[in-house]
Symmetry: none
Subunit: 192 residues, 4 copies
């Protein structure tokens, strides 16, 4: 026996998330309204609130489906730590050039920073996996003898992610060579 009653409309779900992404890119997080999402998506506000508890929740799921495939690319393990992590850095620095992705990341940051009580879990949901993956890959590099045993992996990863966040928040446009410069900084920090 399957569930009773009319099933949830996948069509609406997609329309809502899609409209959220579009409006975020156009207006930014603060000016994004539930009414606008409803109007743009064709879904009623009731339907949106039935499935998402708040604006932050919609944005979170929109980000989940929209950007994770881009930024959360699992770090490859080719056996060469530096090459693997450099590839991730290059993707992270140059990748999110398109406005929707930038807007989503900014929205997540705003939601996280703006509501101390509910935001922590939200932000960690997206950043934590990436952070863990980087730390894991680097620790594997230590085990493989490619990094010195005493390398301060977590501080380096936080500096890396922080730098990306900082550039995002200050809207610093990525410049050619950025990935290389960041890579250099990171590896000299790790190979004292």
């Amino acid at each position: 026996m399957t569930t009773k009653g009319r099933p949830r409309s996948e069509r609406s779900r997609i329309a809502v998330l899609s409209a959220t992404r579009d409006l975020l890119a156009e207006l930014g997080y603060e000016k994004l309204t539930m009414d606008a999402i409803a109007a743009r998506s064709g879904a009623s506000k009731m339907t949106i609130y039935r499935w998402w508890s708040s604006k932050a929740a919609v944005v979170a799921e929109a980000a989940m489906e929209g950007t994770i495939p881009v930024t959360a690319v699992l770090i490859a393990d080719t056996g060469d730590v530096r090459a693997d992590v450099d590839a991730w850095i290059a993707a992270a620095v140059d990748g999110p050039a398109d406005p929707p992705t930038v807007a989503l990341a900014l929205a997540l940051t705003a939601a996280t920073a703006g509501d101390p009580r509910a935001g922590g879990e939200l932000y960690e949901r997206f950043t934590q996996p990436v952070r863990d993956a980087l730390i894991t890959r680097l620790r594997a590099g230590i085990t493989a003898g490619q990094l010195s045993p005493g390398a301060d992996v977590t501080t380096a990863v936080d500096a890396l992610l922080g730098l990306l966040l900082y550039r995002l928040v200050t809207r610093a446009a990525p410049e050619p060579g950025d990935a290389q410069r960041i890579s250099d900084l990171l590896w000299s920090g790790l190979n004292r």
Copy 2:
């Protein structure tokens, strides 16, 4: 000739900024309201809007006056770059332990990330001076022969500020030795 009429009430100005800091710590940026600031401070909304143009502006000035002791500490120039910058790092890492200051910094971040159009100027107003001061001090260190001429100062500074921002946004509590670890990372990055 002095200005005519009743002079601006310094008493109100202080009460507004103080109430803003308190409420920010209690509620976060999104739930902070102008009505609440007016009620808590005893000033009328009219008075607030006479002197500040928006909620963001009040928060900005509250941050200005509230965090100066912490972040705007001018980097000293004792002749020893590393000692000078390490002192600043120590202050920045351990300083903002009190909730109001953290709340202010988060509020600024939320406002900046949430409103792409108006936020850039706001954020730069607080971060830019610090960033410039750090870069200037480090460049002086290069001139003084204490750092290698090819050191990538801006990337290092962005990583430093980004790391602080990242820890702030993720509400990572500062742990003993953090300042030391960050310092180590920074200097090995700069002295390749």
Copy 3:
């Protein structure tokens, strides 16, 4: 050939009308909701709308089945006009003492008064037959020589029904002797 497929559930029909009467007595017409009728009756909203076109229609049928014993009492024709009509008055004045019936009558009044476009037909459906029956009986009394030929039957009937409506709407509790006083008024009006 009878109809194919599953026949209409009499069980549901009764449950809906019964739930409507109960809820009307508890909440009044304005606060009565279709969702509540569905929940209370165990029928789905789909089923309700399959058989009734609107809230007003459900209420109308609920009234139809609920108040017939009270108001639709056909005026008897024993040959004595005054005795026949007085019996009807007594039933109408003292009858609807129970809350559900009162609530139904009020609901019909509210629906009629509240929606000028659709209400006329609704109200006439319940009042018209009674009005016609009274007028017919009185006219028969004229024919039988029990009332003066010039008696203004329609005005008198409207005054009688209006008085009952007025007492209903103002929630005036019936008092002993009311039926007698109304009867007196009516007959002196008819026998000028």
Copy 4:
């Protein structure tokens, strides 16, 4: 000392009541919405809710200012009861021919009948004064010897008001001679 702060806008108050009357005449009570009142009047919903607690309250006050001057004309006391009351009847029967007044009266009836809990007070607020005035005038007529001492004044008045209400609710258009017929019925009822 007068009250502090900006005083209530009389302009808004009038605009709201006026818009309510217009919309009532156009749409009827059930289709009247607060949003429409706000839009038509130029007042914000906030302002409306600041001064009136519900749609019924706005309608009540709109009726107060709009129709009471028309129907609640205090019954004159020229010394001739019948002439005085007949004048009132004539005004009540022929007067409210204009749609806004009819709509208001219907709206009050709908509100009263539709919400048993809150409506009683509402209806009595408008009907009670008229009823009392009629009863008072008729009792004065008894004292003056113009009516028989045993006349059942209250039943007669309720029949009169009920007849008007009944005709209102059934949307019976007033016909020539109605006032006369009602008058005849009333007086023969009172002068048994």
